[in-house]
Amino acid sequence: MSKTDLLLDVRNLKMHFPVKGSFLSKTQNYIYAVDGVDFSISRGETMGLVGESGCGKSTTARAIAQLYKPTGGEVYLKGKDLIKASAGELMEARKNMQMVFQDPYASLNPRMTSGDIIAEPIRIFQKRGLVDMGKDAMNERVEQLMERVGLSRFFKNRYPHEFSGGQRQRIGIARALALQPELILCDEPVSALDVSIQSQILNLFKDLQQEFGLTYLFIAHDLAVIKYISDRVAVMYLGLIVEISGAKDLYKKPLHPYTQALLSAAPIPDPKVEAQRRRIILTGDVPSPDKQRPGCYFYDRCSKRMDHCKTQRPRLKETEDGHQVACFLYHDPE
């Protein structure tokens, strides 16, 4: 893909949250939720972001959307740096970048009807003169959107509590589509749904992408979901990306020891396959992201650790087959 197709480019993104130091002490402590993340997404592509809880997936998405003001780094959307952008410029950029959230119960205002929820982004942009749409046109657009995501237009005047979890997520998707954005940041949009509903929503995401040429940053912790939906996948651990590769390649040939462990831990719904699998069981828990370490963040749990992994941090580097991996097994320390 050529450079001109680049839609989102994230460079060295950092998001540190201050936490209170101990009583009387002047030192300020931080949670290093995202600590230098680099990746880019081309137009029409789906980038999967996967990792365990607390690894910084959601924070990354929110920092890209500028819902948090990032501590450092650059976020280019169509070549424009959102971090340095003025409030007006940011507003305009957001028209092109919408979010779908995990919890369909918490992300819809219970006192608004589904029709109002979907029309809300249009209204907001209309107030600022960024969208010009008459009342009838807006109504029609809302109805179109509802039908497109699989909800009857007669549900327009219903409130969120009258819908099931899967239907609420459809409302959330319709709202994200209202401004015809190019990029949608999906933060665990199917994790709270039941299996049979999850597959419906995943298919809806795929169909919408084809129809509107959407680009997704798709966050999930379920590796099989990520594999199904993504073109490329980035694996995060403790605020850093440890591996990026094409979705198919990643599952065939994971390079980073953490990716390998993660893949082998994911259960496969087939007893015959499960009976023959050998799991890499990681010892210990994910450490707390409350300090920056000099070495590899995965050092404590890695089965292939070497001496220099403790003292030097591996950078994300390209290997010959198009993978990017941050591990000294694949490139020498500097």
Partner: protein, 329 residues
């Protein structure tokens, strides 16, 4: 796994009365549990998995709940007809439970030692020191490093995975015959889930404990369970050996469920199969097959009557008119 049946659930019915009507959360569930067997119960939210198991140990809050019928025979004695004093001897001792959220099932105000010793003293009649030794031994078996020190800590000092290990140690400390695990790994990350499932399998195998594992994850079931019950809207729609069901699912719901999960190990097709429609509202459910509005193979009879159970080889049962219809004719 031997052929000795230790728990027999027969036509269990648990209803809840709510403002909107009657919720038949569990409506005629039957299954057998053999010694040392791991039985999986899968289903989506609201299908009655958890209520089934709360009913088994008679922990349904009354009102609004009510066990409306059926029997739960533990070594031939009906747990539902037993006086509370007697069932307390069994609960936590012969039959113990692990819940989904280890933070809410451990008392945050009490040290782990206090909570574990209480159970052991109560059920095993050991004195406090011996009980503490036993507790430490169990924590060690559950893979908690430095159990002598950690036993005197409070639940909040443990991570999610560690807390679930404490729950496993606690629930197995009285050598129960049955362990009921209600979504034990659903709140955990995949790498921690793998650790916990392994510990649970290893320990129950060593102690000869039978397990009822409730989960919504087909992957977890495939890797751990000997037998499988698939629940939909308060009933078991298909039951049988796990590998046979995965190989050749018969009920359209089971078929759809297995096909709609994306898989890691094979190339997924461009589109995922999906079951159309929404799970049914279980309030005042009519006496028909609750799956028929979503079923690809729905027939006229499905709208009129709940299908009778059809039996297959290897103890398999399926509740679907595709199979039970043939017998009526």
């Amino acid at each position: 796994m031997t052929n000795e049946v230790i728990l027999q659930v027969k036509d269990l019915k648990t209803y809840f009365t709510v403002d909107e009507g009657l919720v038949k959360a569990v409506d005629g569930v039957s299954f057998d549990l053999h010694k040392g067997e791991t039985l999986g119960i899968v289903g989506e939210s609201g299908s009655g998995k958890s209520v089934t198991n709360l009913s088994v140990i008679n922990l349904i809050p009354t009102p609004p709940g009510k066990i409306a019928g059926g029997q739960v025979l533990f070594h031939g004695k009906d747990l539902l007809a037993m006086p509370q004093a007697e069932i307390r001897q069994i609960r936590g001792n012969k039959i113990s439970m692990i819940f989904q959220d280890p933070m809410t099932s451990l008392n945050p105000f009490l040290k782990v030692s206090t909570q574990m010793i209480e159970t052991i003293v109560l059920h095993q009649g050991l004195d406090k020191d011996a009980a503490k030794q036993k507790a430490i031994e169990m924590l060690k078996l559950a893979g908690i490093p430095a159990p002598e020190k950690r036993i005197d800590q409070y639940p909040h000092q443990f991570s999610g995975g560690m807390r679930q290990r404490v729950m496993i140690a606690m629930s197995l400390s009285c050598n129960p015959e049955i362990l009921i695990a209600d979504e034990p790994t659903s709140a955990l990350d995949v790498t921690i889930q793998a650790q916990i499932l392994e510990i649970m399998q290893e320990l129950t195998k060593r102690l000869g404990t039978a397990v009822i594992l409730i989960t919504h994850s087909l992957g977890v079931v495939a890797g751990t369970c000997d037998t499988l019950c698939v629940m939909y809207a308060g009933r078991i729609v298909e039951r049988g050996p796990t590998d046979v069901i995965f190989e050749d699912p018969k009920h359209p719901y089971t078929k759809g469920l297995i096909r709609s999960v994306p898989r890691l190990d094979v190339e997924n097709s461009e589109r995922l199969y999906s079951i159309q429609g929404q799970p049914p509202n279980v309030i005042d459910l009519p006496d028909c097959c609750p799956f028929y509005p979503r079923c690809e193979k729905a027939m006229d009879i499905c709208k009129k009557k709940y299908p009778a159970i059809a039996n297959f080889e290897q103890g398999r049962t399926v509740s679907c008119w595709l199979y039970s219809g043939a017998k009526d004719e």
